[in-house]
């Protein structure tokens, strides 16, 4: 029997270095997903608030699909589905070769779809909070619609959407745990390996839970700093 402290130490006897590698992968996955998810979510929100019914319909179908399918199923659909599609096209070019998709990339794509469908709702409600006069003011001083969006609407939008997006970031961090199911060596999987080898399942899974809590706490400090930097959620007059 080894003590909990040795098991959680850094080095050949302990598992801390393996779990730290897992933390690195988790954070990388979440950080790599974030920009794509935000951008896609913003454009979906833009489609959903446009005056063109077909654009709204397209945006709503997107949200309905990715909010309705369980995250794990989305992940499996992408992890097993993309190679099938890729293979179909690869075989057209050179028969006999096989295509595969990395679990990190599959996780990134799946999380990006999920994150963007939720963030589009956050952006949409933020869009609705911005009065029409802001757009009209922009047009009346001679800005194009793109300039109005970039210079006038977007800065206000970010302030309003920030609390909702912060929430989604925490959800994204938690959702990365699902990618362990397709074999990505992130926190939960590394802890699982340690648990299986040492037979201290409660210790290691509990430790993994604490790491997720720690990540959430660190994130909330970061989020507070960003909120201060953009000047709170209220439009100053």
């Amino acid at each position: 029997m080894q003590s909990a402290l040795t098991l959680l130490s850094w080095g050949p006897e302990g598992w801390l270095d393996d779990i730290a590698a897992g933390v690195f992968v988790t954070v990388c996955l979440a950080l790599a997903t974030l920009p794509f998810g935000l951008t896609l979510g913003f454009f979906v929100a833009l489609a959903k608030q446009s005056e063109e019914p077909s654009l709204r319909l397209a945006g709503n179908i997107y949200t309905t699909i990715f909010r309705g399918i369980p995250e794990l199923l989305t992940l499996f659909l992408i992890f097993f589905g993309i190679p099938l599609i890729l293979q179909y096209f690869v075989r057209l070019v050179s028969p006999g070769t096989s295509a595969d998709v990395n679990s990190f990339v599959a996780g990134m794509i799946a999380l990006c779809f999920i994150f963007s469908s939720y963030s589009s709702e956050v952006f949409l409600s933020a869009f609705r909070a911005i009065p029409k006069g802001q757009y009209e003011g922009g047009y009346s001083v001679g800005l194009s619609s793109g300039q109005t969006m970039r210079l006038i609407v977007l800065p206000q939008l970010i302030r309003i959407a920030l609390p909702g997006l912060a929430n989604l970031w925490l959800i994204l961090l938690k959702d990365t745990a699902l990618v362990s199911a397709v074999g990505l060596n992130e926190i939960l999987r590394q802890s699982g390996v340690a648990a299986r080898v040492t037979k201290h399942a409660f210790l290691f899974y509990g430790f993994a839970g604490l790491i997720y809590l720690l990540l959430a706490i660190v994130s909330s400090f970061g989020i507070n700093a960003i909120e201060r930097a953009v000047g709170g959620s209220e439009v100053k007059r």
Partner: protein
Amino acid sequence: MSLATDALKVDRPPPPARGWSRQRILGHVLVGLWIALGIGMVVYLVAAWNPEFFQKYAPGYISGLGITLLLVAISIVLGAILSVPIAYARMSKNPILSGFAYAYVYFFRGTPLLAQTFLVYYGVGSFRPELEMVGLWGFFREAFNCAIFAFSLNTAAYQAEILRGAIESVPRGQWEGAASLGLHKLQTMWKIILPQALIVALRPYGNEIILMIKGSAIVAIITVYDLMGITRLTYARTFDFQSYIWAAIIYLVIVETLRHGVEWIERRITIHLHR
């Protein structure tokens, strides 16, 4: 020759205004893309149609769906019961009580459901002698029971927050008014506060049920044969990708039905608030 083409250019009437703005074109392209995807999926499912597959695995899907719904229903009800004392503790003025409730809620909302499920399913093995002594080992040996245990604790934390938020959204004046009419606290809670709070809480509760249905898919990883578990089993046996597509369709139908059901209830119970 060039004269003729010039004349053609000049004589041609200006093109009529067609009203196809960039947005409209983009919108139609995107909707067309979705339609193409939908048709592609239908074509795929028709092409992959296999009566044997259905005969063999469709009953499994139905039983899996039953397990999923049972799991969610039990967890939601147990979570709702458990959430009442937690919400009470969270709102109490006693710092120890509210601190404990805060820690509980923070832990269960801050860690992934998958990690909590693993903690229960694999972690109880560490306490086997103790559990055997109390006679609970038989309960925790079943993956299904472990899932219910973990999910109930998890959803209790979320539901406690929903309940607290809803109760705190009722203005203080309602409490004071009830007190001035001589109602005691329990009566006020039951007859005045809760009916108003539950209107606020309906949508979050609906979302929580949807989250649970989606979250319950992870029990497939701990060998419970719910809808997702059956799907993985079917795929492992047949390597037929349609097994995942059918699961996606079933989940989508359940979630959409629930969402529209909650919206319908909300419209019905807020009729008196619309002017």
